[in-house]
Amino acid sequence: MATLTGPTGPGTGAGAQGDGGRGDGARGAAVGSRPPVVRPGVSGPELAAAPLVVRRVEEEETVVTFPTLVWKEFLAGLGMFVLLLAVSVQINAPLLQIANPAITPNPAKAPWYFVGLQELLEHFPPVMAGVMFPTFVIVGMLVTPYLDRNPSRRPQDRKVAIVMFTVYLCLAVTFVLVGQLFRGLGFNWDWTQIFGHPGLQSPY
């Protein structure tokens, strides 16, 4: 049962709770093992414009980070370590012939996370693909929290932000996949990279 408390925040439907009156439970909790102190009406400078959040009362319950959180972190780290060990035993890191400036491999590709930019170079002038787009993305990310004036954290209140970010993510992933998987000799489009060619030996 979601019991909702607190004043209804402006701009959201009934049941939304303003975070400002209550503050983050963890802030009170950070000073010791006592339960969080609820100070109605008292808010720090950061709470004046606090986001509107729907909270279930039972979720305000706090737990000790040690061992509760530390145990989760340990298990996550262990799982990742075992996974990487398994991969490392099975698959060797690539190592080609010794570097030779006289022989350009075809295709010559950037590391996979920059292959998206290399793919952009196929479609846009270099100054756009290599300089303007990356700069725009980096600066855009840095200033995102200052541009986004919507105080709500609820997905249903943030449709524009979520759609924009999802489009960006999909574009980034698509460009990397295309550059990495579908570009062959001369960085030209090549289906056979992935699907092979009936009756032909792959050149790779």
Binding site: R27, S33, V63, V64, L84, I138
Partner: protein
């Protein structure tokens, strides 16, 4: 009550004293003992003593930030072992990598771990950013920590990119050639940036030593400082959770 009066073996008593001087509070049998341990332990101090249950739900955090940090530690340790064998010289580097693969005990495993953990870290940091965005966790009061996180993502990419050159094989120099050529396209400062980055006009010894120094000292230090600030702010800005 002294150990003697309890009739305890002096060796056992000394052992108990040594153990007790390192681990003050014993097993976390109750929240109170656990909280005391967390308060006095240097490493556990990265966390607050108590936190909202909803803030650390695995289905909410997906452990992505923690995993990124774990991978950074794993990369530091495996990278340290690789450094024992690796000389950043165009005459030796490739040979060193082959020695690692075929001669050094566990050298191949360390190199593989280092390589795959690096790729995994690029992915986890990226996913962590997406997770934080979708939950709106960058909103006030956490705007600045999002900016720090953006810089950490860039640092991760640059760490991976600088490491890419070190094996000094065909894959390495041509990937770096393609990657650094993009810098040339910047108006006015482009060619200069390219020259400074490579220590010359082509990817050769100058580039190798620069990328090596960036990879093993400069960028890890930058990443470490940014991480310290990032974790500190996570605590000080409070936790989200429970959308």
């Amino acid at each position: 009550m002294s150990a003697e009066s309890r009739g305890e073996n002096p060796i056992t008593a000394l052992g108990r004293q040594v153990w007790g001087s390192i681990f003050r509070h014993g097993l976390p049998v109750s929240d109170k003992v656990a909280a005391r341990t967390a308060l006095t332990n240097f490493f556990l101090h990265v966390h607050p003593v108590r936190v909202k249950r909803s803030a650390i739900r695995v289905s909410y955090t997906l452990c992505l930030g923690g995993l990124s940090f774990f991978l950074f530690i794993l990369l530091t340790i495996s990278g340290l072992f690789l450094m024992f064998y690796y000389v950043p010289s165009t005459n030796q580097a490739y040979q060193n990598i082959q020695d690692l693969q075929f001669v050094a005990t566990f050298g191949l495993l360390m190199r593989n771990l280092h390589r795959w953990a690096a790729d995994a870290m690029v992915i986890t940091v990226w996913l962590h950013m997406a997770r934080v965005f979708y939950q709106g966790a960058y909103k006030p009061p956490r705007e600045f920590n999002w900016a720090i996180g953006t810089l950490l993502l860039l640092t991760t990419l640059l760490l991976s990119f600088s490491g890419y050159l070190l094996p000094w094989d065909q894959l390495a120099i041509w990937a770096i050639t393609v990657g650094t050529n993009m810098a040339k396209y910047a108006p006015i400062v482009g060619p200069f940036t390219h020259y400074v980055l490579l220590g010359g006009r082509t990817v050769s010894q100058g580039a190798l030593i620069r990328f090596y120094v960036l990879h093993v000292i400069a960028l890890p230090l930058v990443g470490f400082v940014l991480m310290v600030i990032h974790f500190w702010r996570v605590r000080k800005d409070g936790f989200t959770g429970g959308l």
